[in-house]
Symmetry: C3
């Protein structure tokens, strides 16, 4: 089950072609194929990629001004999803409509609202300001996983895996796993979620830190992040020479990261991510090096989580064993269950 | 559900090897694998490609005269499907039989009857005479689709798609979609179906026409076809300079086409087709050019219908929206439903 | 359904790396992924390849002495499957255990017991002594089939297929299929099964025989084998010039073979095999030639049985037709059903 009354990232801003470009962007979210295109005034349209007539994908058709025409039998839809032309049909039935989605760009991420249109609530957009802040530099990343999104969320909710999955990349020390994070609920405004703060003193700098600065000795590391519904991680992390006095950030490496999960189908997931360094800390080559180090580390996650999923599929009913380190995982899943139950109950029942 | 009491094309005549050729032809129809081979007298045998013993495919065995021997344990079957030799078995049980199918060649198409043998009715064979008429020249075509057969039948029952799917090939004008076809039932003799007549005045000649003749201006086009059970299209089409007086066919391009759909499985389909020009209209190079133009256009259909099927599979229960242009589609599906219901009821119940 | 209270071969001895080798061997048996590794004292450990925590495969982790550490969150398990370290967790719950399996090496085969541990019974190991006897030489073989294991067992239980599937390799004469084998039950001690003796007089020598010796004329061949639960063939076979007097083995080729089937999943199977010649009969080149001839012949089986399985899948409910030649097949399946029923009933019910 997926939460519907929330915003999912469907694309990076730059992935959606210009209005003048004939290419049509399409991506599947919660098993619904969706085209996203730009109107001539720059506004965005998100529309189901399925003609209402015989379910041909509209992305096989063409844009005509602000409209889109199906490439099978030529039905033409306006940005509100209404059929405005149907070749060979004198009177177009009112039911000839394609579903549209509330769509918004915020800080380079293109979000679609998958619930009822009238509930679309901008206050539920995540605070992904680091994606669009000149103080921070990054390269935008995208990967597609062939696993259910919750297995990746689990991964992001417990950074103890950095000591093992990323032993030679992001991790570098078993002490990350030994540090007990502080977890508190985020109850809004904004999307609900968890705030997770993990401090790891006196460990080697990570591969990302070393792209920015040379360290002679160990550093104190921190990973302070919010993980908010439906599946977005917003992190401030970094490292500072352990020998420096508290509060002295002159030799610190400070990083920010925005990462978000969007279910494609029951068994596949879109993953949008960036990891930014301070603009004052180096040039394009640093930005590129951090991006590449992150992608390399994420391939370690793909390898582990894909193997985990294959094992799970051999015996899907087998229960997992929750441990103390799963506090974040368990609390997030509980929050998700509560929100799912509320959606199932619906507003009428809630009022009753 | 498939109609069973009818003839399905399993092969072009030339696909079935000669009696002297050790190769064994096999193809799956309605999820039943079937071998077709020639006897020494030239007669055809169609037999399930499944040994009755342990279900090994007979096509992995060998022909021995008019018989076929299984390559697993050596059981040998005569053209009636009776086991006539079973190595190591003194008395062959009467149940040791493989199912055979009524099989007939008519105008280069090899048909199998998939219903009860005693019902096999030659009057239900389609009138595919253009496949074997010296007045017409063509190259035989075959494609395999990874989609349910009905999606391809829908495509053939509504030529409005020529304006869009085949915009740059067979179509060339939105006016094909604007023309309202005249549709009348075909109630026999012969297989039931629909007669669909679509006249399209004053449009550019199609890519096929231009393989045959040079046109200076627009043409009047026509597509007159019967679409008969279980899934055969028999078409007379062409184009004539719009400026020529009615009835003057001297500068017309006249084409005929026979196309037929045979379900392989629930999700795959055999497609046999040809498109012929008049023998007096050009040589081998024209025949080849028309064949290639048709194949190119059919790949446009494959691309669209495969994409449609992928979209449908994301939400198979979603209803389509019938429009006025679907008159042929809707009427053919209704005819099919009626015949399927009659088969399910059976002769006993019909009599009762 | 699979028999669980028995030993399945999971590997050849040489496939399991040395204790000092960081590589971890993993293979799936009865849909359970299992790692096998050597302790520093040389003893073997077989453990489910699934961390109890979040089901990551342990084979993605690393060996640490006699323990294995999960590569996801760092849980460490001892050879008994108990979690002895869990980073970040002060008190390890008693439930933090991974399933282990009784494991034993006997004559180069590594066996795991898939039933309840306390029932593990060494008397049920097969008599595969030919795998580890200096009088016999062979190369060890392994293949993976994409078919259910019973279809391969059926193949091994009826050598009449040698005349057809292996006509040009192991067979060479229809007389193998004509010979009626003598079949008697094996009721223990040792695993239950069937003893199948097939004598084939006056036929050409097989491809294997000819790797060992040159024959001028026909030979008398024999195939004497036990096929025991869960799926192991132990065979003494060979050929002797037909003209030689009874009992004169001076010009005989004598071969032994051990072959065993281990279900991987419902639709895939591990196949371990060897075919040995007498050490006094030739050198490495003979051993290699026999191995290659066997592998070539087994690819004929793969081709036939895979085709058979594809045909079965088109109509899985269709019953097969048992014939007299299936005596071995039918009796073995009956034995298997009886043992499966006994397992289902369980010891308590049996006592009641």
């Amino acid at each position: 089950m997926w939460l519907r009354d929330c915003w999912y990232v469907i694309a990076w801003d730059h992935e959606v072609p210009a209005a003048s470009d004939p290419a049509i962007f399409t991506r599947t979210v919660l098993s619904e194929p969706i085209v996203v295109y730009r109107k001539e005034d720059g506004g965005l349209v998100a529309m189901e990629d399925r003609c209402c007539h015989r379910h041909a994908p509209l992305s096989k058709g063409r844009k005509e001004g602000d409209c889109i025409r199906c490439g099978y039998h030529g039905l033409k839809f306006d940005p509100q999803g209404a059929c405005v032309e149907a070749p060979g049909i004198p009177i177009i039935p009112a039911k000839a409509r394609v579903k549209t989605y509330p769509v918004v760009i915020k800080n380079k991420w293109v979000f679609v609202w998958m619930g009822e249109q009238e509930k679309a609530d901008h206050s539920l957009l995540p605070a992904n300001g680091w994606c669009d802040d000149p103080e921070w530099r990054y390269l935008p990343g995208y990967m597609r996983y062939e696993v259910p999104w919750l297995l990746i969320a689990d991964n992001l909710l417990d950074f103890s895996h950095l000591s093992y999955v990323h032993e030679k990349t992001l991790g570098g020390s078993p002490r990350i796993a030994l540090a007990v994070p502080d977890i508190t609920p985020l109850e809004g405004p904004g999307p609900e979620g968890l705030r997770i703060v993990r401090k790891v003193p006196d460990v080697p700098p990570s591969s990302l830190h070393k792209k920015v600065r040379t360290f002679d000795g160990n550093v104190d590391r921190w990973f302070n992040y919010d993980f908010v519904l439906p599946g977005t991680l917003l992190m401030y992390s970094g490292g500072r020479p352990s020998e420096d006095v508290d509060g002295d950030m002159r030799r610190a490496v400070q990083l920010t990261s925005c990462q978000t999960l969007t279910p494609e189908t029951d068994t596949s997931t879109h993953y949008f991510f960036q990891n930014a360094h301070q603009s004052t800390d180096g040039d394009d080559s640093v930005t590129q090096a951090i991006y590449q180090a992150l992608v390399d580390a994420f391939h370690e996650d793909v390898d582990m989580i894909s193997a985990q999923f294959r094992t799970i599929q051999l015996d899907p009913a087998r229960p997992m064993l929750p441990l103390a380190i799963d506090a974040g995982v368990v609390r997030f899943r509980r929050l998700l269950e509560r929100k799912l139950a509320a959606e199932r109950a619906g507003p009428a029942r809630q009022a009753a």
